[in-house]
């Protein structure tokens, strides 16, 4: 699929997503739209997908492991919520969330990437727990376990996004923009360097790719996606407390990206969809949900580590939508093994 075809598919998807919550019966289409809760779940899916895109950049493209994405989401969420209480406009706190988490990513990643693989996993693990302790204990700033309530929805061009569907369209527009940015990054020479260093860091280094710099930027950028997702999460839920930003949710971010298909462009959307919808479907077995999910992940890793998108792309012609910029490398490696 050419760039133009991918663009058309993307635009079509965007149009469908924009229409899903709307009532179309007036236009002669038998679709009553989604209720308030359905729209909320759909928005939550988009916000989760933004953070998952960041994890995918780190895990799927740069070949590192991050166990702190929920903490970065938390930093963005708390920053936006606290700044909102002082009347800071949403646009400013959204940009600040991205910038702050990017800088933290650089500071954390720099020492960790000096050592060897997996050290980033341990540093982010430590960071994740430290953040959670701060969210829980610094009651004066974060409200502690009581959290922060009544977070205001943003005002865009003088329009207050009170209605669920208005806020959904706003988040959809931002998600689309951030997806395009990531699409551009992954397909640029920059993104190809990511692929090269994931496939073989030492060979990439000998070809003149500054492995550490690229990995560091991938980690910082992926973390910034987490921060910006958090900035949208706070006004979406209108209430935040430390629990969704603990270590457990950070681990779930890793799982969802790998389930969706790490290193593929649609993987994070599929994985986030499963992570958001599965607890809704399994509501009757609420306590069993994590157990079922984890068993599914383990079986999947043993049988098909490429994730759902990887599984689907087996039955399809190679396409940039499914394979992303690095699909070619992956497939070629597969052929080598078969020969």
């Amino acid at each position: 699929m050419s760039t133009r075809a991918a663009l058309l598919v993307g635009l079509a998807l965007l149009a469908v997503l924009a229409l899903v919550p709307a009532d179309l019966t007036g236009l002669g289409v038998p679709w009553p739209g989604l209720k308030r809760y359905g729209t909320y779940i759909l928005t939550l899916w988009l916000v989760t997908a933004i953070a998952a895109m960041g994890v995918n950049l780190i895990v799927g493209y740069a070949g590192q492991e991050t166990l702190a994405q929920a903490a970065f989401v938390g930093i963005g969420a708390y920053l936006t919520a606290i700044a909102g209480k002082y009347g800071v406009p949403f646009g400013v706190s959204f940009a600040a969330s991205g910038l702050l988490t990017f800088v933290i990513g650089i500071v954390l990643g720099f020492p960790a990437l000096r050592v060897q693989k997996h050290y980033l996993a341990f540093v982010t693990l430590a960071f994740s727990v430290l953040c959670w302790l701060v969210f829980r204990n610094e009651t004066a700033l974060t409200g502690g376990v009581m959290g922060i309530r009544d977070i205001e929805r943003p005002v865009v061009f003088g329009l207050k996004l009170r209605r669920a569907v208005d806020f959904y369209w706003f988040v959809l527009a931002i998600t689309a923009a951030m997806t395009v940015v990531l699409w551009w990054i992954v397909r640029s020479p920059w993104g190809r360097a990511f692929a090269a260093l994931r496939e073989n860091p030492l060979r990439a280094e000998s070809l003149g790719v500054d492995v550490r710099l690229y990995t560091l930027l991938a980690f910082a950028l992926g973390s910034a996606y987490g921060g910006m997702a958090g900035s949208l999460y706070a006004p979406l839920v209108e209430f935040i407390d430390p629990s969704p930003f603990a270590l457990g949710p950070s681990l779930l971010f890793m799982l969802m990206v790998v389930i969706g298909g790490s290193g593929t462009f649609l993987g994070p959307f599929v994985g986030a969809g499963i992570a958001v919808l599965l607890p809704e479907w399994l509501r009757a077995w609420e306590t069993w949900y994590l157990l079922i999910y984890a068993v599914l992940v383990m079986v999947m890793m043993a049988v098909f580590p490429g994730g759902i998108v990887g599984l689907l792309s087996r039955f399809k012609l190679p396409s940039p939508v499914f394979g992303g910029g690095v699909g070619v490398l992956r497939r070629r490696r597969g052929h080598e093994q078969r020969d």
């Binding site: 020492p111 050592v115 540093v123 693990l125 430590a126 302790l133 799982l255 992940v297 890793m301």
Partner: protein
């Protein structure tokens, strides 16, 4: 001063338990590149094997503890090796990391759903009496007992690794599996031994720590963090490193809880971990690794 000494001994006792968890983690990493993100849960689960043997099957305490060790060797050792790690070793590191994360969740949720979400009182074999070591310094015999048992286990392991033929073959496997295989070392069996040792150490750690902190499904989170931190602080390519790291973190943990703040007690090993990665990435006792193209 006497307070300090008491805290030090208590710290060494918990630190020795942390060391047990960290050693297993280090061994697995060295011999099979398995980073076990379920290590904390491996220390949490054996206590529940013992509780099931005791409460459900009505076995006496000592038999229950033996059952717990045996069940750990089978499930956390053999089954972990062949059911979880085996099929994934060829798939690379990321699927294995994800799979152990999922395994951790499975163990935790299983205990919560099938046994209990409440903290369980866990019996101890050690005498619950206080003795006065020096004037003013009182320590519980249980703490001394924990320290002795843990150090005994570590000593045995060190002797096994350095003093026996099998142990040296295991070290060879850890250092270079290819060369070890050429020299006739049964690499597969050595890897299985590593998994068994890890499961055994986890069971001992579990039996020692559960009377102190109660047995609870969520204990694995903290224990896992401490085990990772101890392994990296000490130097992950050395068993000695894990021991030093574990003891150090145990002591610092207790001192921080007493003198700094209980709210941030959990932060101590993590801050230490970050500092070590910043200033001495190979760990306190570790040596630098060379990379192969």
């Amino acid at each position: 001063m006497t307070d300090l000494l008491q805290l030090l001994i208590a710290g060494l006792a918990t630190g020795a338990i942390y060391a047990l968890a960290a050693i297993g983690f280090t061994l697995l990493w060295q011999t099979s590149q398995t980073i076990n993100f379920a290590q904390g849960e491996f220390v949490m689960v054996p206590a529940f094997f013992a509780l099931i043997a005791m409460k459900t099957l009505g076995l006496p305490l000592i038999v229950s503890l033996a059952v717990a060790v045996l069940a750990s060797l089978l499930l956390l050792g053999v089954a972990f090796r062949y059911v979880v790690v085996g099929p994934l070793l060829q798939r690379g590191v990321l699927p294995l990391v994800i799979s152990t994360i999922a395994l951790g969740i499975i163990l935790k949720e299983s205990v919560k759903d099938f046994y209990s979400a409440e903290a369980q009182v866990f019996p101890t074999l050690l005498p619950d009496r206080n003795v006065t070591l020096l004037p003013g310094v009182t320590v519980s015999l249980a703490q001394i007992g924990v320290l002795v048992v843990a150090l005994l286990a570590i000593g045995l392991l060190q002797w096994f690794l350095a003093g026996t033929r099998t142990g040296r073959q295991m070290q060879a496997t850890a250092q270079n599996p290819t060369v070890a295989r050429i020299l006739g070392v049964p690499v597969e069996r050595m890897i299985l031994y590593t998994f068994l040792i890890n499961a055994g150490l986890a069971a001992v750690a579990s039996i020692l720590i559960s009377p102190i902190y109660l047995a609870k499904f969520s204990n694995g989170e903290t224990l896992g963090l401490v085990a990772f931190a101890a392994a990296i602080v000490g130097g992950f390519n050395q068993v000695r490193g894990a021991i030093v790291g574990g003891l150090l973190i145990g002591v610092l943990d207790n001192l921080a809880a007493a003198y700094v703040s209980t709210a941030y007690r959990q932060a101590v090993p993590l801050v230490l971990l970050v500092l070590v990665i910043l200033f001495r990435p190979q760990g306190l006792l570790g040596r630098r690794e060379e990379r192969a193209v």
